[in-house]
């Protein structure tokens, strides 16, 4: 690990000032991703701003008809919160599908949003990587790309975002609240993470001098018909090859509002609103689900080792929509897929 200085500001305002005064600083809270990356010399901050104890960010509170989850709420606390379980079980399920109990205890809501990719080349400073070192190249395209993206890639980067939580937040249309030197602003989940384009080093639209305050969930609508289906190389404690968050409003067999977000396939949680619209007013039916899956995967392209993901994602969407329509969400303990 490189050498760095450390500060633990006592208020959000002090933290923002501290960050503004140190351009090469990084924010640390749980540290589960940052410390790991620092040990690999992928991240080399000269200064750490410890936001882990900032007051007012550890609460889960009512926010209008929705719920606000503070940036410092641990993944465990969010997943097991009674209000989250009752009103946003999709979020609870997605969080529990990720990492291990130890990591979920340490990891925070804000930190989960800012997780970096698990691309092998990004993690290995001995290899080029446009995300780690802009302009150095992307060996993943012709290399070991089994775990990498099939949608929204660019010639510069085919990394995926590794979070499960974020896939559920995207489907639920959560809004990320942030604060910087110019005050607070709100970023809808759809705009929070970026596609790589020609700036793969930039994962999100959060500015370098901004701090996440929390996420706001809108009015709950999908507490009955939802699922988080995660497919991976081992049944627990592994990143998704493909995951699907599906949420439906159902009136008998007829679908109302529908949301589908995919994880493990792109640089951000992948949503195609046009595909969701195809479900509105339709009877829940496998043929309809197949057409929706086809639309979501339009333009999907593998890079060799990850070619299988296109078909896997298509099938996962169909299965997830069936689970959601039936009201039988995927169990995160019993991994058999019904």
């Amino acid at each position: 690990m490189n050498r760095f200085s450390y500060a633990r500001p006592g208020s959000v305002a002090d933290a923002v000032r501290e960050l503004a005064g140190h351009p090469a600083a990084k924010v640390i809270a749980g540290g589960t991703n940052l410390v790991d990356l620092m040990k690999y010399n992928v991240e080399r901050p000269t200064h750490l701003v410890d936001v882990g104890r900032l007051p007012g960010l550890k609460e889960i509170e009512e926010a209008g008809e929705g719920l606000r989850i503070g940036a410092l709420v641990s993944n465990t606390a969010a997943a097991y919160d009674e209000r989250v379980k009752e009103r946003y079980p999709l979020l609870s399920s997605a969080i529990l599908a990720g990492a291990s109990p130890q990591l979920r205890n340490a990891a925070t809501t804000g930190g989960n949003l800012l997780q970096r990719t698990r691309c092998y080349y990004f993690y290995d400073p001995a290899t080029p990587c446009n995300k780690r070192e802009p302009g150095s190249g992307c060996p993943a395209k012709n290399g070991q790309n089994r775990i990498l993206a099939i949608l929204g890639t660019s010639e510069h980067c085919i990394a995926t975002h590794p979070s499960d939580m974020c896939v559920a937040l995207a489907a639920l249309e959560a809004v990320v609240k942030v604060v910087g030197p110019n005050g607070e602003r709100s970023i809808p989940m759809a705009d929070f993470h970026r596609l790589p384009g020609n700036m793969p080093e930039k994962d999100t639209n959060l500015h370098a001098d901004e701090i996440i305050l929390g996420v706001e969930l809108p009015e709950p609508r999908f507490a009955k018909h939802y699922t988080y289906l995660k497919l991976r190389d081992r049944l627990s404690y592994a990143f998704a090859l493909v995951s699907v968050a599906a949420a439906l409003e159902m009136d008998g067999d007829t679908i109302g509002e529908a949301r589908i977000a995919l994880g493990g396939v792109a640089h951000k949680p992948w949503r195609v609103e046009e595909a969701e619209m195809m479900l509105r007013g339709k009877t829940a039916d496998r043929r309809v689900f197949a057409a929706v899956a086809e639309r979501i995967l339009e333009g999907a392209q593998g890079f060799g080792h990850n070619d299988f993901k296109v078909d896997l994602a298509r099938r996962a969407v169909i299965r997830a929509l069936s689970q959601a329509a039936r009201g039988t969400p995927q169990s995160q303990t019993d991994k058999r897929i019904q």
Binding site: P9, I28, V35, M38, D50, T76, P101, Q102, L103, Y237
Partner: protein
Amino acid sequence: MADLELKTRQGFAPDAGHESGASALPDEIPITLTVNGRRQELHVRPWTTLLDLLREDMSLYGTKKGCDHGQCGACTVLIDGQRMNSCLALAVTKDGSEITTIEGLASPDGTLHPLQEAFIEHDAFQCGYCTPGQICSGVALLREGHAKTAEEIREHMSGNLCRCGAYTNIVDAIESVMAKETAK
């Protein structure tokens, strides 16, 4: 807490000379940790992990370094009652916390924790390297109350790998303590 604010407000000097090999390292930062019931004043560099502090500075070798990247669970300890990977926790960020390691689970008179007894009873280890992490993790699992069945215990122990493959007996050991606690 007021004292803590004072201490941290000033920040700590950056390491200007590090790259050139010159001397100036950042000051050591004073922290307080209560480790296995004993409150201790310590001075740490900002990059020292809790795992390295426990093993190298406090001679608590029970907590193991496996992968050192949060993937194996061998370094699991309880931080303010919650199980965490000590390899991914910078010690300075845990200032003021209560830490329990494998050395702190037995009673002061030497009576083992029921889960330690159960690991012996059920032969829940072979080489033993992952065992301290498995036991700390299992103790937390029992307190958390989210896992009730063998299947759930497996899922909630998924953060602790055992290369010897003692999983079956580890689950049995945890299940046996859970059954005794339920019967109480």
